[in-house]
Amino acid sequence: MTEQFKMDAPATERRLDDMAQGLVGAPLDRPEGALKVTGTATYANEWQIEGMVHGVMVRAPGNSGRVVLSNREAVAKMPGVLSVIQDDRLLRNPAQGTANKAPVQGAQHATYLGQLIAIVVAESFEQARHAAQALKVTLENGEMVPVDPATAAVEPQEDQTLDQGNLDGAMSEAKHSVDVVYTTPSHSSSPMEPHASIASWEGEDLTLRASYQMLKYNRNELADSLRIHPDRVRIISPYVGGGFGSKLGLAPEAVAAAIAAKELGRPVSVALHRQQVYEATMRRSETRQRLRLAADSDGRLSGFGHDARVSNLPGETFAEPVLQASHFLYAGANRKMSLELARLHRLCAGSVRAPGEAVGVTVVENAMDELAHEVGIDPVELRLRNIPEKDPESVKDYSSRRFREALQSGAEIFGWAKRPGVKERRDGEWLIGYGMASAARINALMESQARVTLLPDGTARVETDMTDIGTGTYAILGQIAGDMLGLPRDKVDVILGDTNLPPAAGSGGSWGASSSGTSVYIACEAIRRQLADRLDVNEHDLMLKDARATYANQTKALTDVLQGDEIAKLGHVLPGETSDAVRQATFGAYFAEVAVHAASGETRVRRMHGSFAAGRILNAKTARSQCLGGMTFGIGMALTEELTFDPRDGHVVNHNLAEYHIPVNADVPQLTVELLEERDDWASPLQAKGIGELGICGAAAAITNAIYNATGVRVRNYPATLDKVIVGL
């Protein structure tokens, strides 16, 4: 019983505003939260399966050449060792998000230092690790290969090129202009849970217990990698200890575990070492971005130029979509944009924490700050003056956009009016500065399915292969189903993360909640209709609350309506014409106060505020947490995070959490978040847009702009570590 719904027209009914149960939007706890913090949620690598053995992967020590395992036979005879496997189906690098097919495979040739080219399997993890370390890997006939994006050959991305009007003319005629180059370094997703898989076969059927974000794609990627039919593959991933994009696509350990398990006829567990997560999963590409802004005497933009260079491995099509929000954020009749991709031999570049906007909006917001100083107006005012009426390129309307309100309300809450002038405020040895930036992120609805079953006992079950990567999926799907079916939250059981369940959109691109939430909503609407039929009333006249149906001045328990039956519906949502009919995006604004030490140049963020508008908020607590997380990573991007590469061979030098500096508690001050009321009828019947990544899309610029305000120093190469600040103090 499938209920299919295609998003072809605005959903103006806003039914979730009228549901009596009142769950949607409430700041409810995550039902699986207690399991996670007490260690009772079973993560991928924690399953204990009868007969299970352990695999440890082995890295290539260089970036080019044919792989030779010179002591393979000796290693195979080490205590406990069951097999040393070098198989052409091993992945060269992970699949990109939504790839749906195998990425580049092969273990015979090294393409980057750290590539995982073999797996050693032993009875115990310790035996496997020792044997893997004993395996001598050499590379024959290697060549000099490019590892530096500044000198590597580049490929223009023609589909990303825009030339509207005459930017050069606008720049030369502008009263005020900014023409600046910023760089951002590579970032690593650094999830707390490393990538891990346990593969077990029953005959020709493979079960993979793993940690992935998008199971329906991952299943196809795994099947394609192994050259078997997807029906033979089941992936189970109920809990994911953080992904941040690195678990969108299938990673090397999954295929290695499957190959080894097949060969040995035993379940095989493979967890990547932290170093391997840094060296062989995904990095965000470093970027070099040139911003050109042309403005009149009032700061109104006449031109907007954004040219970026990013990089990736040979054969990979993903190019960090730096320009994504530049197309619609600000006005400017004359527009020029381009993106080029450098080919080099560092680990694969892919999706990490809001690909595109996290670095793209950040640099736009730095350039806007520079322009505000050129023009001599309040940076907030500059942005307010440049909010376009319609999309400045497609001339489409915005689906919903409380951008102006976010800027104004955020400024009010933060106390922006009391901002100091440049180098004006001091607190002992600390220089104090304020900075702000806008936030913007595209919104998307993706195909997604969920089955909802209303059971005879008056409880409900939601089933989908959707994942919860710590974002609150378990919570919000239960809230939507509870509201639509009139059930308290604890009467709805949400079952996720299993490809045997209806395929969902997966967690990524901030689309998970609205897409999978809509599939649940659609299924529930169908159940409501069936209940109404049983009661012989119009579905819209049926009020469901606390497992009771109220209609036509009567109230009846749901169990009595069901009379021992269950009602199961499959909700299936498809994106439709609303995706292209309007410009859909989320917006917001960040405000930060920093202190920069006058002697050492160390920066401490003293407080930070974000005001965001992302359509209907499905759960005020989990939405706020997403924003806090994004802003925290914004602090990291601004001040500390940089994946560093050896200049000679391109290997990741800082491949652990001690040296890859994500913010620690002491780096994160009081953060405040305001979620603006908004309904987006074009986005989905929930009127919700994605909020998962909005918190990072520009956040770092608020901090670096504050550093400028405190010190007069513009750091244009991220991160703003103290060495870059002290040279200007």
């Binding site: 006058a598 002697a599 140049g601 050896d646 780096d667 060495d723």
Partner: protein
């Protein structure tokens, strides 16, 4: 991690013999176990000294403190006597690692922790410290965190300890027991070796020689501080750190005991820097002269060039703080 034997030592004497037979002492293990998992270190045996009676902090006859080698960093940092009379040590300890690590890490182990040079930790990279004669990949690699003083063409690693920097400023002495039963006292200057052409040899300790404790001399007059400059607010190693004990008399500097971390393969102290300050009236010009002296022999290797400027600015700032008149 290679298979290894595990032996729990019953006495310090037995422990020294057991290590002399091919083992390595383990106390907190906060650095050693990481290195063993990476097979950067691969001892035949671990000699566990945690049951030895070396976890006391006692007052010495001359008003100092004897700190047992097994006193944890947390206990030492929070000892009321240390906080009152040797606050530079307490501050240095609390600036190091994280609370969890400090609960486990010991005084002796902290002194002997290995460098954080990223090339040392990667067995695919040349490292004279890990594998003598293999070369130094760090020198022309990414060397931002590495040393600018006391380096050699064979090694530019830094010593990562904060605690040892404070102890060096305090003139602490390390007490040891050798395999033959002999005991000795070493200043921190004497304990640590510069890399020269043997960066694998980091201390003068002989095979089997066990650090049993550290003796702090009696408290001295003056202000004390530990300033650690780093890339994030916690859980990051020092780019530059300064331990300072400065006393003033009649507007002149009467004492200036200064030690530096993050700059060199050992906690760094330069008697000429101190001599230049003592007897003088504080001024920014004077402090810069002190920095000139400190950095006279310093050289960067590219990414770490900024440490020269940072060390200067930090020293001037610390001396300003320690000499300024408080109202």
């Amino acid at each position: 991690m290679r298979p290894f034997d595990y032996i729990r030592a019953d006495s310090a004497e037995a422990a020294t013999r057991q290590v002399a037979d091919g083992g390595i002492f383990i106390a907190g293990g906060t650095n050693l176990l990481d290195l063993m998992k990476l097979e950067v270190m691969a001892p035949e045996a671990l000699i566990d000294i945690n049951r030895l009676e070396l976890n006391q902090i006692e007052e010495t006859e001359d008003g100092g403190l004897r700190i047992g080698a097994l006193v944890t960093n947390s206990d030492l940092a929070n000892d009321t006597r240390v906080r009152r009379d040797w606050p530079v040590l307490s501050r240095a300890l609390l600036a190091g690692a994280s609370a969890q690590l400090r609960n486990k890490a010991t005084t002796g182990g902290n002194l002997l922790q290995r460098t954080r040079c990223l090339y040392f930790y990667d067995r695919a990279m040349a490292c004279n410290k890990r594998e003598p004669g293999s070369g130094c990949a760090a020198r022309e690699g990414f060397n931002r965190i590495l040393a600018v003083l006391g380096t050699s063409e064979h090694c530019i690693a830094t010593h990562p300890s904060d605690m040892a920097v404070a102890m060096r400023a305090l003139g602490a002495k390390v007490e040891t027991l050798k395999e033959d039963g002999e005991t000795r006292q070493l200043t921190l200057d004497e304990l640590y070796l510069l890399p020269g052409d043997r960066p694998d040899r980091e201390t003068v300790l002989e095979v089997g020689e066990l650090i049993t404790g550290v003796v702090l001399p009696a408290r001295v007059d003056g202000r004390q501080t530990y300033r650690k400059v780093r890339d994030r607010a916690s859980y990051a190693f020092a780019l530059v750190s300064v331990a300072g004990i400065v006393a003033m008399e009649d507007g002149r500097i009467a004492r200036a005991d200064l030690a530096f971390g993050g700059l060199a393969p050992k906690p760094w102290r330069d008697a000429q820097v101190e001599a230049l300050l003592v007897g003088e009236t504080p001024s920014e010009a004077l402090f810069n002269k002190a920095a000139d002296q400190l950095l006279a022999q310093a050289r960067g290797f590219g990414d770490n060039d900024f440490k020269l400027l940072l060390a200067r600015r930090t020293l001037v700032s610390v001396l300003t703080e320690l000499t300024e008149t408080r109202t």
